[in-house]
Amino acid sequence: MAKIVYVEHQGIEHVVDVPDGWTVMQGAVTNGVPGIEAECGGSCSCGTCHVYVEGEPAAGLAPPEDTENAMLDMVAAEVKPSSRLACQLKVTDTLDGLVVRMPASQG
């Protein structure tokens, strides 16, 4: 279980307890946090769960794999060094306190 701090583009914060094994995307969608569309349900094939990760736990994340990088090329908003696809981020205790900022648009 980890507390994930989702921050909407306008700055509204949602702190959600997300179970281990879930993805950061699932934690948002299942709890009604706006800003993530996840049209493909977490198959790394639509680029509509694009987020910017911040905070200390972000530094410990494994880097994106090829399929995630390929989809990051297709996202709607600006890609930054902190850009990730939320469906590819599996939650563990070490992500406690991760800050997840939403871009202005997913598509």
Binding site: G21, T30, E37, E39, C40, G41, S43, C44, S45, C46
Partner: protein, 391 residues
């Protein structure tokens, strides 16, 4: 704990007509219930269904996802494979269904709706299924998949038949299997033609696609295409019909949508929650699993009753009330997890535009028949006929 009194029989016409009282008993008294009639476990609470959807390692789709699976289909389609192969297959198809890639089809959807409406102009009553949702759905899907014109009504009839089950024999009947074979043969011809003369359309791309250097097997291409036709036609048509039923039965909600068409998006979400056509799908356990004091064994099948999770009072307040102001985030109307419906964006878009056009021509309507002829299906739920009268 099995109850000698309570049964949940998804083959029963009573469940086709109104599954919701059965779901409530399941949620409250038997949250992990073995149905002897369906020969599988039934999960009915929202949290349990979401957990299963998000745990494909335990709740596998590789042995089929329809309550009554079609012969030799499991393992060769998006809905019946597990990650990582599922994700690679989905990656080949998803782009055609993404919201940002659907602008081109908007005018086509409106034209299809207007043409259907013109067909019953001047009539006081019309069958929403025959005269509207079937026609619009077939036109939209043929355009989306790039299917050749002609045969469209036949394709629609077969697609709707192949998802049904026989309530007496409790399995697919010969007419349902024959419909499946017919759609498969139809898909085979389209694929052969596209491979010979590839274009920009989805089926051309998919039939020539490779995963890790290997071309998809003929069986994967054929059954995935067959499933796209089936799911597209049955699911979109079925959902639009349920949406029309809800707006016919809830006049105040309909009037608000007519006055302010922007509210249609909210009404669509509430309909997806309230009584969407995709009521129940199936998984197979990959390992022994204990839930609510019951031990389910590896190899057992498990029904995920989305329609019940969507009425779970533990998740949604006053769940049996149709409330277009609810904005029900996280509903299970499109399933969830990696197998969440491929067509969410086109389903929402087509429904919204079709009803915008319908409401311009027919703003006030009511249901004519108090009792509806429900489709016999263990997976989907929608009426075969919905006669509406202009008011």
């Amino acid at each position: 704990m099995l109850s000698p009194q309570f049964r949940f029989d998804p083959y029963s016409p009573a469940v086709d007509a109104d599954p919701f009282p059965f779901y409530k008993t399941l949620r409250d008294d038997f949250p992990c219930f073995f149905s002897v009639d369906a020969k599988m476990w039934v999960l009915s609470r929202y949290d349990d269904i979401v957990r299963a959807l998000n745990d494909w390692q335990t709740y596998s789709s590789a042995k089929g996802n329809l309550m009554d699976e079609l012969p030799n289909r499991a393992g060769a389609t998006l809905g019946t494979t597990d990650p990582p192969r599922h994700d690679r297959l989905r990656g080949l198809i998803q782009h055609a269904f993404n919201k940002r890639n659907l602008d081109y089809i908007e005018a086509h959807i409106r034209d299809a709706a207007r043409e259907a409406i013109a067909g019953f102009a001047g009539k006081r009553t019309f069958d929403f299924v025959e005269d509207f949702s079937s026609k619009v759905t077939v036109k939209v899907l043929f355009r989306l998949l790039g299917l050749p014109p002609g045969d469209d009504h036949l394709v629609r009839d077969k697609a709707v038949l192949m998802v049904q089950s026989d309530p007496v024999t409790r399995q697919k009947g010969s007419e349902h299997i024959a419909a499946f074979e017919w759609v498969k043969n139809y898909a085979e011809k389209v694929i052969a033609e596209r491979r010979a003369h590839p274009g920009e359309d989805l089926i051309s791309q998919f039939s020539l696609a490779e995963i890790d250097g290997d071309r998809l097997s003929d069986r994967e291409v054929l059954l995935t295409t067959t499933t796209l036709i089936m799911a597209g036609i049955e699911s979109l048509g079925g959902f639009m019909t349920m949406f029309a039923l809800n707006l016919a039965d809830h006049a105040q909600a309909r009037r608000r949508c007519v006055d302010n068409p922007a509210l249609l998006a909210d009404a669509i979400e509430e309909s997806l929650r309230f009584n969407t056509s995709a009521q129940r799908f199936r998984r197979c356990l990959a390992k022994d699993t204990e839930l609510h004091g019951q031990v389910m064994r590896a190899g057992d099948f498990v029904c995920l009753a989305y329609g019940s999770g969507n009425r779970d009072e533990r998740r949604f307040a006053n769940p049996d009330v149709y409330d277009i102001d609810r904005k029900p985030k996280g509903h299970l109307g499109f399933g969830g997890g990696v197998h969440a419906c491929l067509g969410t964006a086109i389903g929402r878009l087509a429904s919204k535009l079709a009803f915008e056009e319908l409401h311009k021509a027919v703003p006030d309507y009511a249901r004519v028949e108090a009792t509806l002829p429900w489709m016999p299906s263990t997976t989907f739920r929608s009426p075969l006929r919905l006669v509406l009268a202009r008011q």
